[in-house]
Symmetry: C2
Subunit: 232 residues, 2 copies
Amino acid sequence: EIAEALRPLAGRPLAGVRVLLTAGPTREPLDPVRYLGNRSSGRMGYALATALSDLGAQVTLISGPTALPMPPVAESIQVETALDMHGAVMARAADCDLFVATAAVADYRPADPADSKIKKDATGLTLHLVRNPDILAEVAALTPAPFTVGFAAETDRVEDYARGKLAAKRLDMIAANLVGGATGGFERDDNALMVFWPNGRRDLPMMDKRQLARELAALIAERYRERHAASA
Amino acid sequence: EIAEALRPLAGRPLAGVRVLLTAGPTREPLDPVRYLGNRSSGRMGYALATALSDLGAQVTLISGPTALPMPPVAESIQVETALDMHGAVMARAADCDLFVATAAVADYRPADPADSKIKKDATGLTLHLVRNPDILAEVAALTPAPFTVGFAAETDRVEDYARGKLAAKRLDMIAANLVGGATGGFERDDNALMVFWPNGRRDLPMMDKRQLARELAALIAERYRERHAASA
């Protein structure tokens, strides 16, 4: 089995591997009109879904609202809120080999969304938010857990926060980028990533998101196959 | 001058009329990644900007973030927040003849947006919001004020709320629609409007937003010319 796992697969190193991948933002309704959102365009996730498919994986894409056309993957599911995404992921997580969480899932949602549009009648408003489930941590804690890849979008101290998440959530890999500056990330065509795993790191420099996705997909395949070779 | 104002203008009843039109949602940042948004697609506003241009108006479009291509108008300005939109509008409002506020401007913004990404570290979060300026009411209160057209997206009691806004903000006209159901509005291609003015009303039934925009533009032109004839 070790020999089989290590055999080169002619450009399709993820042939037969079932991938569950989340992408895009989530939207958390305050009322039927207003929501809490974030700046994830979904571009990196969609490009990675395509790149993993190109390596032979059978990809199920679970996506929040984006303005992008669906990539050519085996299955796609559209969701809106973090709770929707949590439900869609947990229903399928036990049947996947590799879980890639590129979605920018809202950490909080309004505690009590209004059924009708909130009327403005005061000089201020206090909004009570409650924590959403941590989809990535829940999947990584499954027994057995799939090979789990997280993403981190940080505005500062990228390596510290990323390595913190890698350890705290018991991930196999985390891809981190710096957002909020002129350095790529959300709403841009280019991006750069620092990829961390236990005792490892690779930096992928600033490049087009599709090319970056291909390089990251190859790295995920390499680490995935190495872990499976080791545990076989 | 009455005769001139009433003379038919061969399909260009707004020739030479300077229109300022706002469209789309605004986004109110919580931090560099998260924002408070709303479901306005900008479609109705962009279609109305085009329809008013087609009637001869010189249109300046001030738009929040949308996924739409810019319509062929005289000038366009992109903004993000309600404060940005307020600044862009107030800098130009004294020089327009007709102000059309289709934008879904956020009523509230976070009191104290964070410079770096908010870290999640508690089971809940309380968000303090403060009121944004009321752009429509400020423009309608100018002396002299342009002919001012507002929009109202309501989830219930449409006529009551719309007539309330018409009176409270001293508008010349308000176009109201019902959102949040299966009845058109945000994020859809179709829409229906109830249009109110002092002592008047016209209902525009469910139709394609571009056709609806043409009918609404014609009604705005009719009411605009009637007021100018009356005050000449």
